[in-house]
């Protein structure tokens, strides 16, 4: 009779070992899955993405053609009375100043109001700003896709006269030469800081 419990405890012991083995396998599996594949992890950014839009300078601009050059992206619309024109004018003078320091960064102003902002209107509007700025528009679908990729929000606000205005993201996106998001450009702290950011952006990825 004293032998009765033995097989049971043996079974229990085996079960415990089995559990440990499962846990170990789980841990190893997770670790392997989390390990970077290859020496360098692929350049993945959750913000930004490719676009093909109509340029205020004529023709279609494909973001693939910008590879190898860092650039800036800003969203707005031409019927924006406060922030958009002042930001564009400020961006233009900043990029012109950066050019005088030997740098070359362009900015792309993507409209969030494609129904009203036709390529012709964008061309007329952008003429008030530095040549280093280009306006982009497209079909509502193409604009929605690029806004989604950049996590940019746009919301229509109806106005009393039956018109509407837009609430939208104000960030100026810095895109590095590999097409990855490199953070927001800070225009509020003065051109000194923004120029430093541009120099860093222009230098990033050059040696790799």
């Amino acid at each position: 009779m004293p032998t009765e419990p033995r097989p049971a405890s043996k079974r229990a012991g085996l079960a415990v070992v089995g559990l440990f083995a499962l846990a170990l396998a789980g841990m190893v599996g997770t670790t392997v899955a989390l390990l970077p594949r290859g020496g360098r992890p692929p350049a993945v950014s959750v913000v930004g993405g490719p676009f093909r839009l109509e340029s205020s300078k004529g023709g279609v601009l494909d973001s693939a053609s910008l590879r190898g050059r860092p650039y800036l992206v800003f969203f707005g619309f031409t019927q924006c009375p406060n922030v958009c024109p002042t930001t564009l004018a400020d961006l233009g003078s900043l990029l012109d100043e950066f050019a005088r320091q030997g740098g070359d960064v362009r900015a792309y102003y993507i409209t969030l109001d494609p129904e009203r902002d036709t390529p012709a209107l964008m061309r007329e509007y952008m003429a008030a700003f530095s040549d280093r700025l280009t306006g982009l528009t497209g079909t509502p679908e193409a604009i929605a896709a690029v806004a989604r990729a950049y996590r940019a929000t746009a919301r229509r606000v109806p106005l009393p006269g039956g018109d509407y205005t837009l609430e939208h993201t104000l960030m100026v996106y810095m895109i590095d030469r590999d097409g990855g998001f490199a953070g927001p450009l800070d225009l509020d702290a003065g051109h000194g800081l923004a120029l430093k950011q541009l120099h860093r952006l222009a230098a990033a990825g050059r040696d790799s």
């Binding site: 406060n82 024109p85 002042t86 400020d90 700003f129 009393p160 104000l170 003065g190």
Partner: protein
């Protein structure tokens, strides 16, 4: 009056005429109204002004007119989490006794809708401000640079060559 003080008086009158157009409507003192040059194709612009109530009764800015706009609305703007928020102010803006209300970029502003022609830097454009009690006050909006953030400011970014004495500093060279 001596002949020597006459030129000074004339100069004062001339400068006074060219200086900030301060309007007074009863107890309300209206500061220099201003706007900004508009890019081609823009059909809207914003107007800014300060109003001080020196009286004992509250008043309310309810709207106005602008010679070059189809209509004028009062709007408010704010920035929340990197997103610009806009809302019409259908009840206008109250000006309490002893207080100064400032319409400025980044806050409450007059919205000039359906512009009939672009605004150019250096222009003065006629308009009115409408108050609940003080009535309609004729004003002139001074048009600043596209990037102006304050009245009369020569901001960077405009293409006018006479603007080298810009008010911005901190440029690294």
């Amino acid at each position: 009056m001596t002949p020597r003080t006459l030129p000074a008086l004339v100069l004062t009158l001339v400068l006074g005429a060219a200086g900030p157009a301060l309007a007074q409507a009863g107890a309300l003192k209206v500061g220099q109204p201003w706007s900004r040059a508009t890019p081609g194709g823009a059909r809207v612009a914003a107007g800014y002004v300060t109003v001080t109530n020196t009286g004992a009764a509250p008043d309310r800015l309810t709207g106005g007119s602008f010679e070059r706009a189809g209509r004028v609305e009062l709007h408010t703007m704010s920035t929340e989490g990197g997103v610009m928020r806009m809302a019409p102010l259908p009840n206008g803006v109250e000006v309490k006794p002893g207080e100064t209300v400032t319409l400025s970029p980044g806050g409450n502003h007059l919205m000039f809708m359906d512009l009939t022609a672009p605004l150019k830097q250096g222009e003065a454009v006629k308009g009115t401000l409408t108050f609940e009690k003080a009535g309609t006050v004729p004003v002139e909006f001074a048009v600043g640079a596209i990037a102006a953030k304050a009245p009369g400011e020569k901001a960077p970014g405009d293409k006018t060559p006479s603007d080298k004495a810009g008010g911005h500093s901190g440029h690294a060279h």
